[in-house]
């Protein structure tokens, strides 16, 4: 579904992503893990068309990011870190705006907004300005933004950061539920969460890919049961 090939990105002299390649299969939930500053967000930003790579290529269902970015954007729902949404808009107005941009027809729009509002638990805040919402609710609006228009691929950059334990469980449930029909790539610093939800794990450290396997595979290969220890071994010295 997604093929990342020799992806490299420099910010000036700083190499953020260094020759990273991996694939994501259809219907897979992939956890992209790594310490802060490892280059995860940069990979997401290139995949979603916010940044251009210095070299390398990404193909999404045979479309490549240099020629068919608009088609790729149509397939991807993206939740950036900390869900930076327009502050002065009403939640409803915002979802309405995203639905318009996604090209959803007026008849289907209300139904879709209602469904997403229910799925993400936004019913009681739908007529509030986004500025007034707590962090958890903002994050949920961000998830609703990403799900709008039913995209095939979801890219979620730390969707559970800053949420309370209940919300983390809820968000994890949402991811699992939608993961049945969609391809998801997401990152988190809570390793148990990755353990519980994902099919495969890719670990990035200092811009380089250091692991790409199922959790079971990693455990066997490194002869280590605890995922925390595996993660530390892989990213040590950072």
């Amino acid at each position: 579904m997604i093929k990342i090939r020799n992806l490299t990105k420099y910010y000036g002299d700083l190499c953020a992503v260094d020759d990273v390649s991996f694939d994501i299969k259809k219907g897979e939930i992939l956890a992209l893990l790594g310490p802060n500053g490892a280059g995860k967000t940069t990979i997401y930003r290139i995949l979603t068309g916010y940044l251009k790579p210095t070299s390398g290529n990404i193909e999404v269902m045979d479309y490549n990011i240099y020629e068919h970015m608009m088609k790729i954007k149509n397939k991807i729902g993206y939740l950036p870190e900390a869900a930076p949404i327009y502050r002065d808009m009403l939640v409803f107005d915002y979802l309405d705006f995203v639905a318009d941009i996604r090209g959803i027809s007026t008849e289907k729009k209300m139904k879709q907004i209602r469904e997403l509002s229910e799925l993400c638990g936004l019913d009681e805040v739908i007529h509030m300005t986004i500025d007034e919402l707590s962090k958890g609710y903002k994050q949920r609006v961000g998830i609703a933004h990403a799900l709008m228009g039913d995209p095939d691929i979801l890219v979620l950059d730390e969707p559970t950061v800053g949420l309370d334990p209940n919300q983390i469980v809820e968000t994890r449930d949402i991811i699992k539920r939608i993961g049945k029909t969609k391809t998801i790539i997401y990152s988190t610093h809570i390793l148990s969460e990755a353990e519980a939800t994902c099919d495969r794990i890719v670990v990035i450290n200092r811009g380089k890919k250091v692991a790409d396997d199922t959790l079971k595979g990693l455990q066997d290969a490194m002869n280590e049961k605890s995922f925390e220890n595996i993660f530390m071994k892989l990213t040590r010295g950072n």
Partner: protein
């Protein structure tokens, strides 16, 4: 193409959610009304020449205040990333925001139609220059909006965007007139051609010359195209 409409609607609406629209419109009407009417009855002439001669300078600092938030605010709070990763082209984003600013300027200008109406009661108002003046004002407003939009795409700081936009608009209106004293004769024509004020006053006389219209269209096009290059470069 359809997305231009959605961006336009969102931007135009958001002017009126925050207090900025009401403040800017009030300030504009107070300043222009006061400057215009303070000498209006002394001159004893039923025309709007004075009003239109004040417009370029007033626009030069009001319009950058209207446009300063268009990109800067988005870059600052990060919603820019959400916008860019939605399936909408740069062209549609720029045109939607630009048209929202122009529509806002037109709305801001509309209460001044009362000046024309009340002047026509006082004497024999020649409507030609008035129609020309408003046409010129929209062209001038559009080109200043595009410059303000460009300034806004440079920076995440709205104050900086405002000052850059104002500096460019002021240069186009005033500086060129001042510079004329200091430059050699053979260059006067060239510098005069750059003056937004001169082209605007031509139209405001009621003489609609294609050269004047082309001037504003070119400025707008250049500024919008440069904005496109700037946000393309940000990638």
């Amino acid at each position: 193409m359809k997305n231009i409409r959605h961006i336009f609607r969102k931007e135009f609406k958001s002017y009126f959610i925050s207090p900025i629209a009401y403040i800017v419109i009030s300030v504009f009407l107070i300043i222009i009304g006061w400057l215009f009417f303070s000498t209006f009855f002394l001159e004893k002439q039923a025309n709007l020449t004075k009003f239109f001669s004040l417009l370029p300078v007033t626009f030069a600092f009001i319009i950058p205040a209207v446009t300063m938030r268009l990109f800067s605010e988005e870059i600052n709070i990060g919603s820019y990333e959400l916008l860019i990763t939605l399936p909408v082209s740069f062209r549609d984003i720029i045109l939607g925001k630009f048209l929202a600013a122009v529509a806002f300027v037109a709305l801001m200008l509309s209460p001044t139609l009362v000046y024309a109406l009340s002047t026509s009661f006082l004497g024999d108002l020649d409507w030609g220059p008035v129609i020309g003046g408003y046409l010129g004002a929209i062209l001038l407003g559009a080109s200043f909006s595009s410059i303000g939009l460009l300034a806004s795409s440079f920076t995440r700081n709205q104050v900086v965007a405002f000052i850059i936009g104002m500096a460019i608009c002021f240069s186009l209106t005033l500086l060129v007139d001042f510079v004329l004293f200091f430059i050699p004769n053979f260059m006067v024509d060239f510098f005069q051609f750059l003056s937004a004020n001169l082209h605007f006053q031509n139209i405001a006389k009621g003489v609609i010359d294609l050269r004047d219209i082309m001037y504003f269209v070119s400025i707008t096009f250049i500024a919008l195209y440069t904005t496109h290059l700037v946000i393309e470069e940000k990638k």
